[in-house]
């Protein structure tokens, strides 16, 4: 029996701009199993980020339903949605979205403050997480004092703060060079394997292909096709040959 963590049912998202209506998602149906590493791929403007926002309860679909752990997201109260974002999901963004007034450590503790974890416990956990992402010696630096790769590591540590079951990453490597990007992908993959976190990542980055269990190709707000790992491997070979 497959254990479905995320399920979308005919999800439509329209953006209204004046009298124009832009249909960014045009009926998305996907099911994601627990522990999977999923990459959402597609050209710019195809709707990856929009889908990311729907799955992460960062925006509401115009039509259709999103189920997480069997729970219909549209039926949650404001306080439940806040708790969902706090406990169940870890978000990683292309532009890191760290709070620049808080140190690396302060960024990692914030979701734990929201979760009501005691100061002693959250400090301990923040140190452990920052150690794990390789920033043990930079804990009290402000984001502005860190490199792009280091900032993304802080964001990953922060995403893990409340032990989420899903990591949502929107182009986590887009602002990074190839090697740093590779390190970030490996780190996320390690979490996926070692801790069983479900990873859903929107990406243009072909380096993501060989760590993904499945790839969902999005085009014009629709799922164009879903490829399994074994179908991808040949293509990765090709990419490896010309890309790196």
């Amino acid at each position: 029996m497959a254990d479905i963590v995320v399920k979308t049912e005919d999800v439509v998202k329209e953006y209204r701009m004046g009298s124009n209506i832009l249909r960014a998602l045009d009926g998305i149906n996907i099911e994601i199993e627990r522990g999977e590493y999923i990459s959402l791929m597609g050209p710019s403007g195809s709707g990856k980020s929009t889908l990311f926002n729907m799955i992460g309860a960062l925006d509401r679909p115009t039509e259709g339903q999103v189920y997480i752990d069997g729970q219909n997201m549209s039926q949650l109260s404001q306080k439940q949605i806040a708790a969902f974002r706090c406990h169940r999901v870890g978000y990683i963004f292309q532009s890191y979205n760290l709070l620049h007034v808080r140190s690396a450590h302060g960024n990692v503790t914030l979701p734990m403050i929201f979760a009501g974890i005691s100061e002693k416990d959250r400090n301990e956990r923040a140190e452990k997480l920052l150690d794990m992402v390789g920033l043990g010696d930079r804990m009290y630096h402000l984001p502005d004092e860190l490199s792009g790769g280091q900032r993304q590591r802080v964001a990953i540590a922060r995403a893990l703060a409340n032990d989420p079951s899903i990591i949502l990453a929107d182009e986590p490597t887009a602002n990074l060079d190839t090697i740093t990007g590779r390190e970030i992908i490996d780190l996320i993959k390690r979490l996926n394997l070692e801790q069983g976190v479900t990873v859903i990542s929107a990406t243009h980055d072909l380096k993501m292909l060989d760590v993904s269990d499945r790839i969902v190709d999005i085009r014009d707000g629709l799922v164009e096709r879903i490829r399994n790992r074994d179908e991808i491997e040949i293509e990765v070979g090709e990419v490896g040959g010309e890309g790196h």
């Binding site: 627990r34 926002n53 708790a83 706090c86 979205n97 079951s165 801790q195």
Partner: protein, 225 residues
């Protein structure tokens, strides 16, 4: 980790945590906080100086010691002239608009931060409370400094106009002489200036913060300034 339990309600943060977070934020953003606070200081300084200048004028007229070199030549024998009322209203408007603008700017450039905090599990109410605390503190301290600067300005102007007589008839306390207009006195004007500055800062900041907190985080985070 692998929760299957139904989703609970997010807890409300204890007040102390909010207070701590807001002060931390003011401290690290010190330079920017000073600029925002300066907006409040200027508005209140302007209002208080105009208002108090007027008050001093009345007090010295009342005392019968008014010299010929009054700032406003049209000043009536007694009471506030329409020109003075107009000037006070103008300075009040400048003050309101100035403070509202500087708070709005300060919140707008933090939309992304608001969206991010909501991603991490912040409740709308927490976001509003954070801005309420920050702006209340900024508003009060900015307005207090502004009121003192305004008072200083009015005293200097008064010295120019009335010389040392000013100190004999300095309208420190409220007074309501039987044959003259009611006077609030310097202390009350300073207090009112502080309260006004704080209220304007709090409204000017928490209203846009409340609107940003209501937005879905995706939209709040899209805002580029």
């Amino acid at each position: 980790m692998q929760q299957r339990t139904p989703i609970e309600e997010q807890i409300d943060l204890p007040f102390v945590e909010s207070l701590r977070i807001s002060f931390q934020s003011l401290k690290i953003r010190f330079g920017r906080s000073i600029i925002t606070t300066a907006g409040i200081t200027l508005g209140i300084a302007f209002l208080v100086s105009v208002w108090m200048n007027n008050e001093i004028g009345i007090a010295l007229q009342e005392s019968g010691r008014q010299t010929t070199i009054n700032t406003f030549e049209e000043t009536a024998e007694q009471g506030i002239s329409t020109k003075d009322i107009w000037l006070i209203i103008m300075s009040l408007i400048v003050c309101v608009v100035g403070i509202a603008n500087s708070m709005l700017m300060a919140v707008t450039e933090r939309f992304r931060e608001i969206g991010t905090m909501k991603c991490l599990g912040a409740l709308d109410g927490f976001v509003v409370r954070l801005f309420l605390l920050e702006s209340g503190f900024q508003g009060f301290s900015g307005a207090l400094i502004g009121a003192l600067i305004g008072t200083l300005g009015a005293v200097l102007l008064g010295l120019k106009d009335y010389g040392l007589d000013l100190f004999f008839y300095f309208p420190l306390l409220p007074a309501s002489p039987e044959d003259g207009p009611m006077q609030l006195g310097v202390i009350v004007i300073i207090l009112l200036g502080c309260i006004l500055g704080m209220i304007l800062a709090v409204i000017g900041s928490s209203f846009p913060a409340w609107r940003a907190a209501k937005l879905p985080p995706a939209e709040a985070m899209r805002t580029e300034v």
